[in-house]
Symmetry: C2
Subunit: 233 residues, 2 copies
C-alpha cells in the first residue's frame, strides 16, 4: 500500500529545516529507524555530503538515522532494501537526470507502490507526479526524459505563488505558466503552497496543512481546494 508525504517545501519562513512538518513525519515514519536520503537535487549546488548532513540533523530529533544514497555501492539495491525514502529539494532537472543516470526511477516507483514510505519536498515532490513539467526550476541540465514517478495521477507545482496584483514585472505569473502547460498537456496540476503537503495512503490522497491549494485542469477555471480535501479528479 502506497504511503507518501508530498510536501511543497522543506522549510517555511521563520523556522528551521523540516521543523514545521516534523510532528507529521514522526507519525509517518513510525517503526522506521533508518531512511535513505536522495540528495541529487543539490540546492545551490551543495555537495551530497553537506546536504545529507542537514537531513541527518533534522531526522535525529525523531531518532531516525539517515544515510545518503551515494554512500551505498549499489543505489538500486539501496532503494530495494530501504525502510523509508526521503528525496530532498533543489533542482528538479538535475534530480531527474541523476535518477535516470543511476537507473533508480523505476525501482523507486516499484518499492513505493509496494509500501516503502516516501517523503518528498519541493523537487522531491515534483517527481511524484506524472512528469516534471510543472517544476519552477531552471533547465540547467538536459535530462533524458521529463517523465517521473507517476505515483499520483496529477502533477505538482510546489512553492505555488499567487500573482502579486501590485507587481510591475511583466514576466509570466505562475498561473499563466500552468495555463500554458495546459495548452499542450491534459494532466491536472496542483499548485501546492508552502506549508501544504499531500498525504497518500493507498489510493486515498488528501490535502494537508492549513492552506488551500489551487487546482488547474485543462479547459476549466482553476479552483481552490480546502485542506482535508480528497484529491480525486
Amino acid at each position: 500500500m502506497k504511503k507518501m508525504i508530498i510536501a511543497s517545501t522543506s522549510t517555511i519562513y521563520g523556522s528551521s529545516y523540516l521543523e514545521y512538518i516534523l510532528p507529521e513525519l514522526k507519525k509517518f515514519f513510525t517503526k522506521v529507524d533508518e531512511i535513505v536520503f536522495i540528495p541529487y537535487a543539490r540546492p545551490s549546488g551543495i555537495t551530497y555530503e553537506a546536504y545529507t548532513k542537514i537531513a541527518k540533523k533534522a531526522f535525529a530529533s525523531l531518532n531516525i538515522a539517515v544515510k545518503g544514497i551515494y554512500e551505498y555501492e549499489n543505489p538500486n539495491e539501496a532503494i530495494k532494501k530501504a525502510k523509508g525514502i526521503f528525496v530532498g529539494g533543489g533542482n528538479t532537472f538535475e534530480l531527474v537526470n541523476q535518477l535516470y543516470a543511476n537507473n533508480i526511477m523505476e525501482t523507486i516507483k516499484t518499492v513505493v507502490t509496494s509500501g516503502t514510505p516516501y517523503f518528498g519536498t519541493s523537487a522531491g515532490s515534483n517527481i511524484c507526479g506524472q512528469t516534471m513539467q510543472t517544476t519552477n526550476d531552471m533547465p540547467i541540465i538536459y535530462p533524458p526524459s521529463f517523465k517521473t514517478l507517476a505515483l499520483i495521477p496529477f502533477n505538482i507545482n510546489p512553492h505555488y505563488l499567487d500573482a502579486d496584483p501590485t507587481s510591475t514585472h511583466k514576466g509570466e505569473t505562475r498561473e499563466t505558466r500552468i495555463n500554458e502547460y495546459h495548452t499542450y498537456n491534459t494532466t491536472p496540476v496542483l499548485g501546492l503552497r508552502e506549508g501544504s503537503w499531500i498525504s497518500v495512503s493507498g489510493e486515498q490522497i488528501v490535502l494537508k496543512g492549513t492552506l488551500t491549494a489551487r487546482l488547474f485542469q485543462q479547459n476549466k477555471e482553476p479552483i481552490e481546494l480546502t485542506t482535508g480535501s480528497l484529491l480525486k479528479f
Copy 2:
C-alpha cells in the same frame, strides 16, 4: 555582419506592446519594409494568427509589414529570403521545440551571421545565447535539445528580477537559480532587466536601455554592468 537587438521583454509596465523600443527598432530596421515573425513561443497559448496580428499592429507604426512564418509554405526558404526576423516571447521550450521541428535553427543562425537583422524579445532573446538553459519558463514541452542559436558568447536570463529582501517565500531566487546553473556549466549569464536590451553589431555587443544588467560568471561574484558597457567576457 551580425545585426541584432536582443531585448529582455516586449512590454514594460504601463506601456503597450513594443512601445518602449519602437524608436530603436525604427533605426534598426531602416530600409527594411517587411520582416518575418516567428510566433512559435505562443505566450498564454495564443494562436500563431492572433500573435502575429499583435506584432503586425506594433510594426505598422514603422511602416514595416509583418508576415508570420506559418504563412509560408517552406519556413526554411522564408528565413533564407527574410529581410528581417523577429522572434517573439512566450514559452522557450515550445519555441525551441518548433525551431527544431521546422528545421530552421541552423538556417536562422546562418542568415543572421550573414547580416539579416534579428530582433528578439524574452524567449526570442533567450535563444540567441549558447543554450536555453537560463530561461525562466516552465518545461511544458520536451525539446530535442537545449542548444540554441549561439549568436552571442553567453546566455541570457530575460526578465531578470532582483530578490525581494522582504519576501517570506522560500522558493529559489533568480540569483540562486543562475548560481545552480554555474554548478554544472561554464557559460556566462547576463541577467537582463525589463527595459534593457543588447545591441549586436558585428562582434561588438553593447548593453542598452537605462538600467544596469547583472553578469554571472562561474566561480566569480556577480557584477552590475552599466548601460553602454561592452559585453566582452
